[in-house]
């Protein structure tokens, strides 16, 4: 797996450069995603001469930096590229173009076996489905010990670490000798968290970690994730479609639409006064349990367009309530709208558009 071709070296990285949406004045970048594209070829169904007839542009030009100890919420509808982005970041997918740098080293082109192993330790994943992401035939202890074995941790220490980790995620020592089917969904997600944290990674990618859980269980897992994040000072990319959950856990949020980031900024800012019309519509579409939040309803027409035939100009223009002539011709890039809030839109909102009466409440 060690790549022999000469990959771009970490020296090329400019340490002072901040990407759109990155908070100013921070220099503790953990992860840097540079102009990342991931296209999947579509082949014609001929047996002899199958040829590529198009591309699914799942991720189409993403620049992103993750800083130490921050939780970045990644939101967007199905098909917007959230999962492809996260898979490419962990190294499960090769990028079509662009780079993913973890602590300055290219994750897809490690310089040495050691660096490869190091990077694999530093980045971990928590999956959505706690039922399918644990091996049913393995004791919890063995599932948790696996990464320690791979990374040659002293055998004597291994058991200690496993038991310690179980306690940290709110399970007991005796749980180590059980199989996944003996646990509830919430407990399994605790095991998933233990597995991700056991190598003390720098970055965890959590892909919809609570969406398969009931609300009462969801709350305890969210609390636990926050506790652990603080204790380990790990950075996190938190992918979720439930915006209330994202608002609760994340410091920064990036909104994706058709393979691009359309808005990025501090969570409270973005959710309070969204700038991009897509963020506005997304927030407006979410049904809130709070009876006293009065919000404006904006119902988007049509479906998300296919990532094969992208609309020209702004990708969101065909569904946008503000679209003008220009939006159908030119594609907007991320620009700073307010302090640290960046949006890719020619006509961004600058005032509160949806939560009109929420402020009166506070």
């Amino acid at each position: 797996m060690v790549s022999s071709n000469t990959a771009p070296m970490s020296e090329t990285r400019d340490h002072d450069e901040l990407f759109p949406g990155s908070p100013k004045g921070r220099d503790d970048v953990i992860l840097e995603v540079r102009n990342l594209r991931k296209y999947f070829p579509i082949k014609s169904r001929s047996i002899l001469f199958s040829k590529v007839i198009g591309h699914i542009k799942a991720v189409d030009g993403i620049d992103l930096q993750i800083f130490r100890g921050e939780i970045l919420g990644l939101v967007g509808e199905s098909g917007c590229g959230k999962s492809t982005l996260s898979k490419t970041i962990v190294g499960l997918e090769e990028p079509t173009t662009g780079q993913v740098l973890l602590n300055g080293a290219d994750i897809h082109h490690p310089e040495s076996r050691e660096q490869f192993m190091q990077m694999r330790r530093s980045i971990q994943m928590v999956f959505q489905d706690p039922y399918n992401s644990l091996n049913p035939r393995r004791l919890v202890k063995d599932t948790l010990r696996e990464p320690l074995l791979i990374h040659n941790i002293e055998p004597k220490r291994q058991e200690e670490i496993v038991l310690e980790m179980l306690k940290k995620v709110g399970l007991e020592e005796y749980h180590a000798l059980r199989y996944p089917h003996e646990f509830s969904g919430g407990q399994r997600q605790r095991i998933g968290l233990a597995r991700a944290l056991i190598m003390q990674p720098d970055l965890i990618i959590a892909d919809e970690p609570v969406s398969a859980l009931d609300v009462s269980v969801q709350a305890s897992i969210l609390n636990l994730m926050q506790e652990l994040q603080e204790e380990f000072n790990v950075s996190m990319i938190f992918i979720a479609h439930d915006l209330s959950v994202v608002k609760h856990v994340s410091n920064r949020v990036a909104v994706m639409y058709l393979g691009r980031i359309v808005e990025i900024g501090p969570t409270d800012e973005v959710f309070d006064t969204p700038a991009h019309p897509y963020t506005v519509s997304l927030l407006s579409a979410i049904p809130f349990p709070d009876q006293d939040i009065k919000k404006k309803k904006i119902i988007l027409e049509g479906d998300v367009p296919s990532p094969v035939n992208l609309p020209t100009g702004c990708r969101f223009a065909p569904r946008c309530y503000k679209a003008q002539e220009r939006c159908h011709q030119e594609e907007p890039v991320l620009e700073e709208i307010r302090n640290n809030v960046w949006a890719a839109c020619f006509y961004p909102e600058s005032e509160k558009v949806i939560f009109l009466e929420m402020e009166d409440e506070q």
Partner: protein
């Protein structure tokens, strides 16, 4: 035909504007590991033109309720006791043949997964026209016209052409629209929507809910909306019934319950969801887990997880009226309400 069936059978005369009156039903499932008491004495009602939410976590009996009403339980399940009155007629007394006139024509069901509810090898035309012909007694051409009209009403563009497409040619949101169109083409009086938007993206969910509400008003439908999403319930229903462990624990107007929940479970449930208004602090959690319905806790199903539980909670609490249209099944409801008031007063001062 079903009209006459219903009239002839109408014995029960409840409150005049109640369309569905579920009275004390018990639905049990036989499984290898024992009898699962999925519904254990469930009572609630739905009024004419009302939108009612059935709320609860997985395994609380929401879906079993809708299947018990329509009598489409799996083979190992059975309604062992109780009555379900639909417009005065006990559905439990009807023959299977009479029941077929109720399903679809009187009470329509909308499923969670719109793809598996459509036959992939038949065009939309075939799937809609047959049903409309059968239930509305019209000829094929008229049925097709009705189908196209309904498809247009739910916002499917170029319905005249798209009716000949197959399910896979539609997106998830469009498929759910087709199902709504098909259900409403039969002019039912009650629509049971079982998690109708759970499989859809939020912007599409908003579209579908908007259509359901518009159609409900246009056709004067009653709606029974089953969902675990408290936001959806909050914005789309007039009244809710909160389910826990196969029973109803609290009923009342949606607004009142969200503002001022009375049952300890409802309170805990509402406090455990992250909200746009709450800060970043810890979320409230409910200790323990959802009860096993093979061997459920005695008495109040919630008592092992409830901070207010005492010995009396090991007997079953009756559903008691505690205000205008509000019912709660809890022995300690007075303490619970007082306690919550104190807490709110403290946090705001």
């Amino acid at each position: 035909m079903s009209e006459t069936t219903l009239k002839g059978k109408a014995k029960h005369n409840g409150s005049s504007n109640v369309i569905l009156d579920v009275r004390d039903i018990y639905t049990y499932f036989k499984t290898e590991s024992g009898v699962v008491k999925a519904l254990d004495g469930v009572s609630f009602d739905i009024r004419e033109q009302e939108s009612v939410g059935i709320v609860g976590e997985s395994g609380c009996g929401k879906t079993v309720t809708s299947r018990s009403i329509l009598r489409i339980l799996p083979k190992n399940g059975e309604v062992v006791a109780g009555e379900i009155y639909y417009r005065g007629v006990n559905l439990m007394d009807l023959t299977e043949k009479q029941m077929r006139h109720v399903r679809g024509k009187e009470i329509a069901l909308l499923f969670q997964d719109p793809l598996s509810a459509l036959n992939p090898v038949l065009s939309i035309r075939e799937q809609m026209v047959d049903v409309i012909q059968l239930h509305r007694g019209v000829d094929e051409e008229e049925a097709a016209n009705i189908a196209i009209k309904m498809m247009k009403a739910v916002g499917i563009p170029e319905a005249e052409h798209r009716i000949d497409d197959y399910p896979h040619q539609y997106s998830g949101g469009m498929r759910q629209r087709i199902l709504i169109a098909r259900a409403l083409a039969l002019r039912p009086k009650l629509l049971i929507a079982d998690e109708p938007t759970t499989a859809l993206d939020v912007t599409i969910q908003a579209q579908v809910l908007d259509i359901i509400q518009r159609m409900r008003k246009e056709y004067g439908l009653s709606l029974m909306l089953i969902t675990h999403n408290l936001g959806v319930v909050s914005e789309n229903t007039d009244r809710i019934h909160v389910f826990y462990g196969g029973r109803v624990v609290e009923s009342g107007p949606t607004r009142a319950i969200f503002k001022d929940p009375h049952h300890p479970y409802t309170i805990a449930l509402l406090e455990s969801i992250p909200s746009f208004k709450k800060g970043k602090g810890k979320l409230a959690t409910i200790p323990g887990s959802v009860p096993q319905l093979i061997n459920p806790p005695k008495g109040c199903r919630f008592h092992p997880r409830c901070p207010y539980a005492t010995d009396i909670c090991k007997t079953r609490p009756p559903m008691e009226k505690i205000g205008e249209d509000r019912y709660v099944a809890c022995f300690h409801v007075d303490t619970v309400i007082a306690d919550r008031k104190n807490r709110l007063a403290k946090s705001s001062s």
